[in-house]
Structure formats: C-alpha cells, structure tokens
C-alpha cells in the first residue's frame, strides 16, 4: 500500500509527514520524528505511557492511526517543556518526588495538563479519575495525586 502525506499541527508547528497507512501516531513520533518522550510501554492501550494530547485531550498514541490527526493539534511533552527550566506541572512533579523510574511521567504530566486546562480546581476524586488510564508501578500513585493537587494550586496562584 502506498504511503501518504499527513498534515497536522505538532507542538504548535504545521508538520507534514510521509507515512505508511495505519502507522500509529506513537510510531511516527518515536521512530520518524525523534520525539521519544511518549513511551511504548505496551502497544495495547493498557498503560498510558504513550499518552499525547490531541486537541487538548489525552489519547493513546500507540493505537491511534496517524490518519486520525490530519488537520488536528497534537501536543507532546516536548511541546510543553520550556527551553529553559520547567513548566509548573513539571516543577511540582519534580519537587514532590512524584517520579521514580520516570517511565510513566510524560504520560502523567500530559494527563495532568489536560485536566487542569479543563478543570482548574479538580477534586481529589476527579484527579484520580483522570489518572486511571496511566499505569505506574513504582510510586503507588499517591505522590502523583498530590502533585496534581499542588500543580492546580500553583497554577491558580494559591500555593500555601
């Protein structure tokens, strides 16, 4: 089957790529574009380590054909990392030890961004609900939940 050209906005930039049909967004990002922050933990949609944002919503890039992002907006962790320093969510994760091996962190951080962009004052239950698609084996989740709470406070300027 012939390759096709897909055009979409990637981390704020209009991007054109040549892909074989049914190439997943995850494979495109990691293998063709060298954007390796999104991981390849299972390729079954079960762990969320491949999470990127599609029009602001978390999606599993390991299952998403690139054709589905034609004309859409995709954001990866690379796209929200400032050239110098960290964004507030990254800062909070770092300062609050919400990371151990780091493999789930890109997915967790993007899911957090999607949540807080939509709901700046989430309850603990809402935070937990938003994290259920992202697997972490190291931290036991609590430090991540607390980091999201603190990130919300920091973004709202209410940090104690």
């Amino acid at each position: 089957m012939a390759s096709k050209i897909i055009s979409f906005t990637l981390n704020g930039r209009l991007t054109e790529v040549l892909v074989k049909p049914l190439t997943t967004l995850g494979t495109l990002l990691r293998e063709q574009l060298d954007l390796t922050a999104a991981k390849s933990g299972c390729k079954q949609g079960g762990c969320g380590s491949c999470t990127v944002l599609l029009n602001g919503q978390p999606v599993l890039s390991c299952l998403l054909p690139v054709e589905e992002v034609e004309g859409q907006q995709v954001i990866t962790l690379e796209g929200i990392t400032p050239t110098d320093g960290l964004n507030p969510i990254q800062e909070v994760f770092y300062e609050n030890f919400a990371i151990q091996c780091g493999y789930c962190s890109p997915g967790m951080i993007l899911v957090t961004k999607a949540l807080l962009d939509k709901n700046p004052h989430p309850s603990r239950e809402q935070i937990i609900d938003s994290l259920t698609g992202n697997y972490c084996r190291c931290t036991g989740y609590e430090p991540i939940i607390q980091a999201v709470e603190k990130a919300a406070q920091r973004l709202n300027g209410h940090e104690g």
């Binding site: 299972c42 079954q44 079960g46 762990c47 030890f97 151990q100 091996c101 780091g102 493999y103 937990i128 609900d129 994290l131 259920t132 697997y135 084996r137 190291c138 931290t139 036991g140 989740y141 609590e142 430090p143 991540i144 939940i145």
Partner: protein, 333 residues
C-alpha cells in the same frame, strides 16, 4: 449481605545483601581541577534513586556540598565491578564502597589543604559548604576549588580514591543449613484495615499503617517512595495479581494489562508510616536497606484482616472475590 471490617497485623524481617554474600561492589572517585568530584560506578538505578543517595553518601564523606558530586554510571569500560541492584544491596554495598573511596580522596584533599593553610591535616575540618578551615579558626580557610587547583598544578597530587565492599561469601552446610546469609536485618510491622463485601467477595483495603526500621535513612523522601510503592505492590500481590489464574494449570495466562489484574489509583488505601532508625554496625552511616521489605508486610496483614472481618483464612494468593465467596459459602454450610 454486608460490608464487614477487620484489622490484621504482620511483623517481618528483611535481610540486606545478596544471600550468602560474595557480592562485591567497587567505586572510584576523582576530583576535577575545579573541586567537583566524580564517583564512577557500574551500578544501576531502577528508579528508586540510587544515583541520588550515592551522591549524598559521597558528599557527606568527602565533606563537600551535594551539588559538587557527580555520579557516572553505568559503563563497563569505566565503572569498576558492581554485582547489581537487587536484594536490597545497593545502598549498603555501593554506599560502603563509596565511603572507602571518599575517605581516601578526602585524605589527599586535607593534606593539600593543610599544606596551603600551613597546618596539620588533623587540625582541619570541612564545613559541608565547600570550605576547609582550621578547627576553631574559621578565618583560616580555603575553598575546595582552590584546593583542587593546587593539588593539580602546584603539588602534582591526585585527589582520588578507590573503594570496595564485600561481605565474604559464606558456605552453607548442606546437612544443617548452617550459613551466614546476610549483613543485617531491617524490620517492618504493618497493620491493615480492610472492608469485605460479603455479597461480592471484594476486599477494599482502607488503610495500611506501618512502622519500618531501616538503620539510617539517606533520603527520607526516597524512603517514603519505597514505602508507598511497596505497600501498593504488596496489596496488589495479596488481592489481585496472578499470571496463572488457575495455577498450576497454564490456561488463561494474561498477555496485557487488561487481563493482568492490577489495582489503580481508585483502589488506594490510606498509607501511613513511621520510620525508625537503629543504625546497623556495617551499613554506610548505618543504612540497612528498605526497597523490598515494604512489599512484604502488607500481604499477610491484609489476609489476617480479612479473617478478622469475615472469618475466612485465605491461604492461597491472590485472595480474589471468588476465593472469598467460596470460603464464605463453606463456612456457612
């Protein structure tokens, strides 16, 4: 049909080190011309934070700031032997090796500082901020950067050190089992509170409250990371996980996260802990090790709590709803 609560306890020991010993780790340290120190290892960080705690131990022994210490690992061309990261051995063995290397490097550093300050090395102390001064005379002081420069270009000395730690390998008497398996023992006691739904057999762990004794915490936040992660893994072992749902039969083995049942953040219990420190005789700064122990005590504590709640003792892990319901049925008949 009801939701019944119960409490259960478990008290455990956990040994430090590869069983029987014979698991050396080595470390090399050298100072750069500008007073940074590189600790070269072939040890691996699994996410628990080994690279951080080793830098802390190195900085402490050298007497310099944490920021001055770099960790270079793992490369078999540059890093000396390390048996690996497992058996709760890394901080203990690698830490001890780093202390030995750091002591050797520190000795040279102090000798050079002594020459520069025209004092005896025994009269000098480090302030942990990057300065070396004469005890009692803080104005007679020199910065580590200047010491390093002087060592390299004035005295022709290398501020470096080599370290090694090995617990000698113990034999095992095949008849009596007489052996010396470990360097020290850490301990934990967990109290679990559960709620069992007698209609569905599901167990909700309400809380896991534990006391841990770990010798010495190098980095309390990282210890807490092991406590939270380990408690969670213990709960998962006790109630959810299996690669063989019909053990010992090999049917229906999972191939994905949809089939391998694991709890998520919705199943989180309240996890509370207190950490005691009774330094071990042979650990670096008294460290014992904590990485594995935290997953062990929750398992029997939860099983014992289920018994307290509903009177069934599940002796076959995981304690699935099916097993609990079958046991409850048997109890009633």
């Amino acid at each position: 049909m009801a939701k019944k609560r119960g409490l259960g306890i478990a008290a455990v020991n956990y040994p430090t080190g590869m069983n029987l010993g014979g698991d050396p780790s080595q470390a090399l340290i050298h100072a750069t011309t500008t007073g940074s120190f590189v600790i070269t290892l072939a040890s691996t960080d699994l996410g628990q934070g080994l690279k951080t705690v080793i830098a802390q131990i190195g900085a402490e022994t050298l007497g310099v700031p944490f920021e001055n210490v770099m960790i270079d690992t793992a490369d078999s061309d540059t890093g000396p032997h390390c048996m690996g990261t497992f058996a709760s051995r890394a901080t203990h063995r690698v830490g001890n090796a780093v202390i030995q290397a750091a002591e050797e490097a520190r000795k040279v550093m102090m000798e050079v500082a002594a020459d520069e300050l025209e004092a005896s090395p025994d009269d000098l102390e480090t302030d942990g901020q990057g300065n070396i001064n004469v005890k009692g005379s803080p104005d007679r002081s020199i910065n580590v950067i200047d010491v390093a420069l002087a060592a390299h270009f004035k005295y022709g000395k290398t501020i470096s050190g080599r370290g090694m730690f090995m617990k000698p390998k113990s034999d095992v008497d095949p008849e009596t089992g007489k052996m010396d398996p470990d360097s020290t023992e850490a301990h934990a006691c967990t109290v679990a509170e559960v709620e069992v739904d007698t209609e569905t057999g599901e167990v909700k762990v309400l809380s896991l409250k534990s006391a841990y004794e770990v010798g010495q915490q190098v980095n309390p936040a990282l210890v807490e990371g092991q406590i939270r992660g380990g408690s969670y893994m213990g709960m998962a072992h006790a109630l959810y996980e299996t690669t063989h749902p019909y053990y010992p039969q090999v049917e229906h083995m999972p191939t994905s996260f949809s089939e391998y049942v694991l709890p998520g953040p919705m199943e989180l219990p309240e996890i509370d802990s207190v950490v005691l420190e009774y330094p071990s005789a042979n650990g670096p700064y008294g460290v014992k090790g904590v990485g594995e122990m935290t997953a062990n005590s929750p398992i029997p504590a939860i099983i014992n709590a289920i018994y307290d709640a509903v009177g069934v003792r599940i002796t076959d892990l995981p304690a699935t709803p099916e097993k609990i319901l079958r046991a409850l049925e048997e109890l009633e008949s």
